[in-house]
């Protein structure tokens, strides 16, 4: 019972908005001590956990490429390109990206997108470019919203696409855990098939919300446009 205090530490740290690194560090140490691990064992648990989870940090290797391309105008070019595709609004473009991300993830191509590889250099500038073509310079708040939705299209697409693929971590985790713990025999294929209904729901729900983003941008910017022109241009300056 007492080990659940470790979970409580996480919830409390979270609720009081402490620095997440400290919260997780303290919760790990506290849980280890409550479970009567020795200080050496706790340190070893931190070390082993770090060593076996390095793959989540490996995307850093792509940053020099993206940084170099950005210095040379990658984001600006993404905006120019989307400017030529007249019919592609922010919402339609993001819904299209969601579909692509889900389909490629379902084929196992999970590293094709991601916040560093595709969202920052290409997807977000294109989504912003489409909004700018329609509405002119965007106020800071609207720009943030468009960027947030760009990140969401990537994440939702990845999460609810990848499980339709057999050899993905979560499917292998399920079969590995269940087959060893309960001495049963589950095939990855059965699990991947049952990920499809949720994948379809995810596309319909998030796709609909992305398309609705266009309408809410129209409304919001029309309301802002009601203010004086001088103020409007000042907001646009600040947005840079």
């Amino acid at each position: 019972m007492i080990v659940l205090l470790g979970v409580l530490v996480v919830i409390l740290g979270f609720a009081t908005r402490r620095n997440p690194l400290l919260v997780v560090g303290v919760a790990g140490i506290a849980t280890g001590l409550l479970a009567k691990l020795s200080p050496q064992e706790i340190l070893a648990a931190f070390g082993d956990g770090f060593a076996s989870s390095r793959s989540v940090t490996i995307f850093v290797i792509t940053l020099p490429v993206i940084g170099l391309l950005e210095r040379n105008g990658l984001q600006e070019q993404a905006r120019t390109l989307i400017g030529r595709l007249g019919k592609l609004t922010t919402g339609r473009f993001l819904a299209l990206y969601l579909a692509l991300r889900q389909l490629t993830a379902a084929l196992g191509l999970t590293s094709i997108g991601g916040p560093a590889q595709s969202v920052r250099p290409m997807v977000a500038p294109m989504a912003e470019g489409a909004a700018e073509r329609r509405h002119g310079p965007l106020p800071e708040r609207v720009r943030e919203r468009v960027r947030s939705y760009s990140a969401s299209a990537d994440t939702v697409g990845l999460f609810f696409g990848e499980d339709c693929f057999l050899a993905i971590g979560s499917i292998l985790l399920i079969t590995g855990f269940v087959n060893t713990t309960y001495h049963t025999h589950l095939e990855p294929l059965q699990l991947a098939l049952w990920a499809i209904p949720t994948a379809v729901c995810a596309f319909l729900i998030h796709g609909f919300r992305l398309l609705r983003l266009d309408r809410s941008l129209d409304h919001e910017l029309a309301a802002l446009g009601g203010r004086s022109a001088a103020e409007g241009s000042r907001t646009a300056e600040e947005a840079k």
């Binding site: 019972m1 080990v3 659940l4 470790g6 919830i11 979270f14 620095n19 997440p20 690194l21 400290l22 560090g25 849980t31 280890g32 479970a35 340190l43 648990a45 931190f46 070390g47 956990g49 060593a51 989870s53 390095r54 490996i58 995307f59 850093v60 290797i61 792509t62 020099p64 490429v65 993206i66 940084g67 170099l68 950005e70 210095r71 040379n72 105008g73 600006e76 993404a78 196992g108 191509l109 590293s111 560093a116 590889q117 969202v119 920052r120 800071e140 943030e144 919203r145 947030s148 990140a151 939702v156 499980d163 399920i174 589950l186 059965q190 049952w194 729900i205 998030h206 919300r209 840079k240």
Partner: protein
């Protein structure tokens, strides 16, 4: 055979090189703290190789991880003024280079996909060319290297220090959030060792009324989402909630179809991942990379979708598992 560890060393070397740049960057008010944080991280990438092979004790690595937690947690890291181009210069180079700029960026996923699908099956002298099970990681690594070479040709840049500086600015803008996903994996394994799952199971068994199928399904799905929100990772929540109710109640007691219950249960956990800052690599890192003032922006965009999908998942198990 090309080993995944070699790429971890390359990543470690990149961190060390960037830490050296940070140490001499006087525009960063916390340059020494920053250099220490990223330098330690780089060093840990190397030392981890021996820990994985059980050739070195894990305790020193644990000490280093806690040192990074303190450096990041007590705000001892900062960022320098990026040395970069002006908007006018970027518009000019973009106009000159045009869509050729996309080629290096698209090279990364292309190479990654080729490695994960085709090169995976290549053998030399009976040994696979890429280490088995690490093809995707190696693919991303190769993709980044090839992409960098292509990028330097496309933009006609000869100095390797330029992409390194540019990448470092991106790294500094992400800051300590980069370490959080790895730290959560650690917390998950400590929870496992401490028996958090068995405890949650005992509590739910006492609270759950007998034979209430749909309530049990809802408890499993909502529990997966809630535990994922706390732990930041559905993979950590899955063993806890499946040992607590998924297997004993839904499958053994109520004869639910295991593939439906377990596959959709995991996806219910993913709904939690969409809304928690603890899932830093999916929610906080994008916010930092996109330079958002509101670091919860992506989460706010995802909350309604996550809620609706959780309801869908409960419905899917209720309809198809029994």
């Amino acid at each position: 055979m090309i080993k995944a560890e070699w790429f971890y060393w390359l990543v470690g070397a990149v961190f060390l090189a960037m830490a050296a740049q940070m140490a001499v960057d006087r525009s960063n008010p916390k340059r020494l703290g920053s250099a220490a944080f990223w330098g330690l991280l780089g060093g840990c990438f190397f030392y981890s190789s021996w820990v994985v092979e059980k050739k070195a004790p894990a305790e020193p690595l644990g000490v280093a991880v806690l040192a990074m937690v303190c450096l990041g947690g007590f705000q001892l890291t900062g960022r320098g003024v990026p040395r970069t181009t002006t908007t006018e210069q970027r518009v000019a180079t973009a106009a000159r280079l045009g869509s050729k700029l996309f080629v290096p960026a698209l090279t990364i996923p292309l190479v990654a996909v080729v490695c994960a699908s085709a090169v995976k099956h290549w053998h030399i002298g009976g040994e696979p060319v890429l280490e088995e099970g690490s093809e995707t990681i190696l693919g991303l690594g190769f993709g980044a290297i090839v992409g960098l070479l292509v990028a330097m040709v496309v933009v006609r840049e000869r100095r390797p220090s330029v992409p390194l500086h540019a990448g470092r600015s991106l790294l500094e803008s992400m800051g300590w959030a980069l370490l959080l996903p790895q730290l959560l994996a650690v917390l998950g394994s400590i929870f496992q060792v401490a028996g958090v799952g068995t405890q949650v199971g005992k509590i739910t068994e006492q609270l759950l009324p007998d034979g209430q199928k749909y309530i049990a399904v809802a408890v499993y799905c909502v529990g997966m989402a809630l535990f994922t929100i706390i732990m930041g990772n559905a993979f950590a929540a899955f063993p806890v909630m499946t040992a607590a109710i998924g297997w004993p109640v839904l499958i053994q007691q109520m004869h639910g179809d295991p593939p439906v219950v377990l596959a959709v249960g995991m996806l219910a956990g993913f709904c939690g991942t969409l809304v928690t800052p603890m899932a830093a690599n999916f929610n906080l890192v994008p916010a930092a990379l996109l330079e958002l003032k509101d670091q919860y922006g992506p989460i706010k965009a995802q909350i309604p979708t996550a809620g609706a999908l959780l309801v869908c998942n409960i419905a899917i198990i209720s309809l198809f598992a029994f």
